[in-house]
Subunit: 259 residues, 2 copies
């Protein structure tokens, strides 16, 4: 399987601390050594890094850990391959353009019996995750309008997610750079950090940060993961079947249906 | 304006030497300081780096210079902004998926009176270059088939390029990871390096490489640029209106029509 990490913030914020913790799990404290990737939005633009190597020993991952990239939305994935070879084309997050925006997708899980209908978007690699992403975008393009409200779009995303979840494990991070949609079937947790900020200690490596020194009083920064990254904070665990839509660091819509 | 660099090789080859020369021109030996980007194919996958800063002083560019990324096709661009703000979304090369492959586009020039028809692909940023790229892909999707031969596809690319070129400057690099299409209206040059390899010296910084030490006897590596990068080699200059299709380091199709 894989692990996921995302960030939603109300001000451009770097992901160095969380990324450092997650990437230890790619071959050091965890078995997710079959590639890693991260996408950072900067305005409508996107900056991404992908590697088919273990993140714990990747020189490029080290660059991302030590090179603060400020973003309001970031999506990250470390891979333990099940479907599809270990290669760059099979490394999340996947990116496509829809309605003049880059959409970014990362996924944990596997569906049984899923086969994507032919559509406009096609996978480049051979993972079922990328096929799912293309299927989602093909559905959105056919069933939504580019000027639909966020609420209308999210209604469609929730119904699609429920359909996928009925066929297996579907833990999802999806963003269009404006909002971040998260859906949990088995594991997902979040934490929202805001003033007064305190220190935090990573679970996977001996790194502590004092957020007080790195933030202003107005900052709101949320981190969403499949497995909590710190030992001294209280993470808000999603229920199976729960979804949350994040924007500028806060949950702006959410819902739950038992699965 | 901007400068372009591409590589086509018959074996995965790094771009460190050429990239080091080109990126000096982004704020040091040249005025193209409004961002830079590079895309490397690895199989069907793609690895890209973009920055809205000057390449000559970019830490990320330094990483790419010193971190040999092996690729058979690479496309690079340094920007001097004319249309569109200086921001990540406006930084070449641009990437889209078509028929299950990533297509990469970088462009030098400007067309007068160009307006893209609405289509499936839409620009995310505000450059005329990205609008041109989307227009090209929309044409291909409408007028070609996914299983068209390379020859059929290239015929369409040539006719589209000629139409754009009739409205201004259109120096183009376009790849689908298999082949690299290059079109010249004002400036483009190439060099093909093969055994016996020799040394080469960059024009823009005091760096020399001995390709003999870095290659095998079977390697064929071509570099295509808007302005030659070395002082001690003979570059093959394109004529205005000339196009060349590169595959595995060699020209496999080419043509010319006076413009």
């Amino acid at each position: 399987m894989c692990e996921l990490l995302a960030m939603s913030a109300n001000t451009p914020t770097d992901l160095c601390f969380s990324f450092t913790g997650l990437t230890r799990r790619g071959g050091e404290t965890g078995p997710h050594k079959d590639g890693w990737g991260v996408a950072f939005y900067e305005g409508k633009g996107i900056r991404c890094f992908h590697d088919a190597d273990a993140s714990a020993s990747s020189r490029l991952a080290e660059v991302v850990q030590t090179h603060p990239i400020k973003s309001e939305v970031a999506v990250c994935h470390i891979r333990q391959a099940n479907v599809g070879d270990i290669c760059l084309a099979n490394t999340h997050p996947f990116i496509r353009e829809l309605w003049g925006r880059y959409w970014v997708f990362a996924h944990n899980g596997q569906l049984s019996g899923f086969s994507a209908k032919q559509g406009f978007y096609e996978p480049v690699g051979t993972t079922d995750s990328e096929a799912l992403f293309c299927d989602m975008l093909n559905h959105l393009r056919l069933n939504c309008q580019r000027d639909d409200t966020m609420e209308q779009m999210v209604e469609k995303l929730v119904s699609l997610s429920r359909a996928y979840a009925s066929a297996g494990v579907f833990n999802l991070l999806l963003s269009n750079g404006d909002w971040l949609f998260t859906y949990c079937t088995t594991k997902m947790a979040s934490i929202t950090r805001r003033a007064p900020f305190g220190p935090a200690r990573l679970k996977d490596t001996d790194v502590t940060v004092d957020f007080e020194a790195e933030t202003t009083a107005n900052d709101i920064v949320s981190v969403i993961v499949t497995e909590p990254l710190t030992t001294d904070e209280t993470w808000d665990i999603y229920k199976p079947g729960e979804w949350r839509l994040w924007r500028k660091g806060e949950v702006v819509m959410n819902g739950y249906q038992r699965i």
